[in-house]
Symmetry: C2
Subunit: 413 residues, 2 copies
């Protein structure tokens, strides 16, 4: 039996990183800021992969190319080539060509097939991607590759766009004395409402593990981990055209993902994904409060989720949370238009430990001042019990602030 | 044949008002502001009615009572009793009792059955409604009833909450020399994302006509008028618990709604509803730009509508519109997650007359500066052609501004 990780580490240290991977990031000149914008992760011995892409009907060139590559390579990945500052989306054939050109250049340098390169892009939509900037910067990115904490941090920083901070998480499990490690790095602060499909904002998530596994077993572990984490968060509900979650397994731990190790690995993977998903919401554009929605007492978990999503996306709820207004009427109304049938007479709502609505009416124990004080915390839970069944769902969302509007309305001619 | 109305009048005049109705509004002391908060409309000879209520699963007491009354009276309405300042929603049995008490008092004073009174409430959710304030103010409301323009305006003002201006519209059609009139009054500025069901924000809409009609024919005219107007607008997408659209027909024109008059009456009703719906969005909380979404080239009108709704509710699109940012990538991405399948290669997007996206890529004719200038207008159209079919849909939405957040985050302990 593998030991379940006691905790998730947030910042990479040399001991915490999985074997079999090398990382780097350099400045290719795509970002106007001049910050690093080409991030590279290489598995010198190759890695088996499971990947989930956005369910948006409009997908960026790297999603189209990435799907082709994963299918053609049978889930074998040698390198991940990420540029930030340009989403390479809605760029037509030239966008696809730019993506293929950069994959070809990486493949040639690494001595693998182009299909073993997984490309990702994040940034502005609709602007042609200058492939030559990527190919010109590639030698420097290859030269900078390292397996230490600095290299891992450089990769995590190189994928950032409007993020205000790096997002990483690490977990370790042991099997028969052998450590298995998972290192995750991700980015995303706006256009976050991920709905990842079986092969999913612009949220980019890269999960590196040294477990040994076939792609099928990796997919079996990744799908539930994503459902409970990245598919259960929202910032603005705008599902991106570029969302990608990639899990890579280098095998260098010598531990095989099988029926004996699966539960422990799943638990570690879940913990890393949960931490990264939380970090994304916490760093959301303009966010001042992170709100966990716990919907219980539903007939099905799908219905619980539907209620949670409606509340999570309601502009009236989100603005009320920005000022700590215990306006449970807006929460109840949002649940009411979720499409799920329920009787308000069986509903109870708590904000943190404070009852606000019980069985059809404002709670007789409603303490507006205390509830308002509780809502001054950076993070708290709203518990919505439908009183109909036993199914439940958890969803992580945030407030809607003036700063969010400023960030996204910022436009200079 | 009835003549189709040349235009819609916005402000009531004595000549433009339908016969068979009397209106008033008084101060009952529910609004903290001390503004009129009890509005009354009476049809002394009775009126046949068609009504559509919110599709929210959580409904206010007046919706529950109103449904009962319309069913019991066979669609016969003697009076509409509206209070603003309190939604009487999520108030349980006491809320239902308060609603019934005020209906009973109005019925006693008017000499009709309580079932012939249609109640409406709008305002804060979850606060008990003081029925005695309504019943105490009722004699004054009855004494103030009038059939002139001042009375109609008083009614329209009495139903306002966060509205910054009165919303009224009037149209007239003639049949065999006889005028048939429609007067509409409505309120609504926030929690606007109406989805009215067959018997729909808090949006309250009252339509008074002197045509003679059975309730069934009124319902046949009201449903399509509402679908193309109130069900095709959004401010924040938050569907209210109290939405009501009521169409009353007094019959005093002597013109019957039948197969000969239906098209012309429908046209006049459509025009009044379209004007009122536009006024609601134009007066939306914090709104600085009204955007008409015209989605064409869809397989079905339902799919066109689904695409329009996704764009209409996207926080990223709405914030971009607040600064006149011609960010078509956000528009395309929102359509992409609408759930409708399409190929971006067949899509074209225009902002006003300016092409921004054509067949998979940024338009070669994209003129960012000119498009940005066009978006400085208070109101403009975004045309999204899916390129797949012949069905279409129109939807009216607005920008998301710092002022919207301020209005809805405003909370003082």
């Amino acid at each position: 039996m593998m030991k379940i990780p006691a905790k998730v580490l947030l910042i990479p240290t040399h001991d915490s990183l999985p074997g079999g991977f090398r990382w780097s990031a350099v400045k290719a000149g795509i970002k106007a800021s001049g910050n690093p914008d080409l991030a590279l992760a290489v598995a010198p011995g190759g890695a088996n992969a499971a990947v989930m892409f956005t369910s948006n009907q409009v997908v960026a060139a790297p999603i189209t190319v990435g799907r082709e590559h994963i299918a053609a390579s049978g889930g074998m990945v040698r390198a991940v080539l990420v540029n930030s500052g340009n989403a390479n989306c809605a760029t037509g054939e030239p966008g696809l060509a730019a993506c293929r050109t950069s994959c070809n250049a990486a493949a040639a340098a690494l001595g693998c097939t182009p299909q073993q390169i997984l490309p990702s892009s994040t940034g502005v939509i609709g602007v042609p991607l200058p492939a030559e900037k990527l190919t010109n910067a590639l030698p420097a990115a290859l030269a900078a590759l390292g397996s230490d904490a600095e290299a891992a941090v450089a990769f995590a920083r190189g994928i950032m766009t409007t993020d205000t901070r790096m997002k990483t998480a690490l977990a370790m499990v042991e099997m028969d004395g052998k450590p298995v490690r998972i290192f995750g790095a991700c980015k995303g602060a706006g256009m976050i409402g991920p709905q990842l499909g079986p092969p999913h904002a612009t949220m980019l998530v890269y999960l590196f593990s040294d477990i040994a596994s076939c792609p099928e077993a990796l997919r079996a572990a990744l799908a539930p981990a994503v459902e409970a984490s990245f598919n259960s968060i929202t910032i603005d509900g705008d599902t991106s055209t570029n969302d990608t979650v990639l899990l890579l397994a280098s095998g260098t731990s010598g531990v095989e993902l099988n029926e004996h190790s699966f539960a422990a690995f799943q638990s570690a993977l879940d913990a890393v994904c949960a931490s990264l998903a939380h970090q994304i919401v916490d760093d959301g554009e303009g966010v001042t409060h992170v709100v966990e929605l716990s919907v219980t007492g539903a007939r099905t978990s799908a219905e619980a989720r539907q209620v949670a999503r409606a509340i999570a996306h309601s502009p009236l709820c989100k603005t009320a949370w920005s000022s700590g207004d215990p306006n449970w009427g807006r929460i109840l109304a949002a649940a009411g238009y979720s499409g799920v049938q329920f009787d308000p007479a069986t509903v109870s709502i708590h904000i943190g430990p404070y009852p606000v609505f019980e069985r059809g009416v404002r709670s007789p124990r409603f303490d507006e001042a205390a509830t308002h004080r509780h809502m001054q915390q950076r993070e708290y839970t709203i518990h919505f019990d439908l009183g109909h069944g036993t199914a439940s769902s958890r969803f992580l969302t945030c407030d809607l602030t003036v700063e969010y509007v400023h960030i996204n309305a910022d436009y200079s001619t």
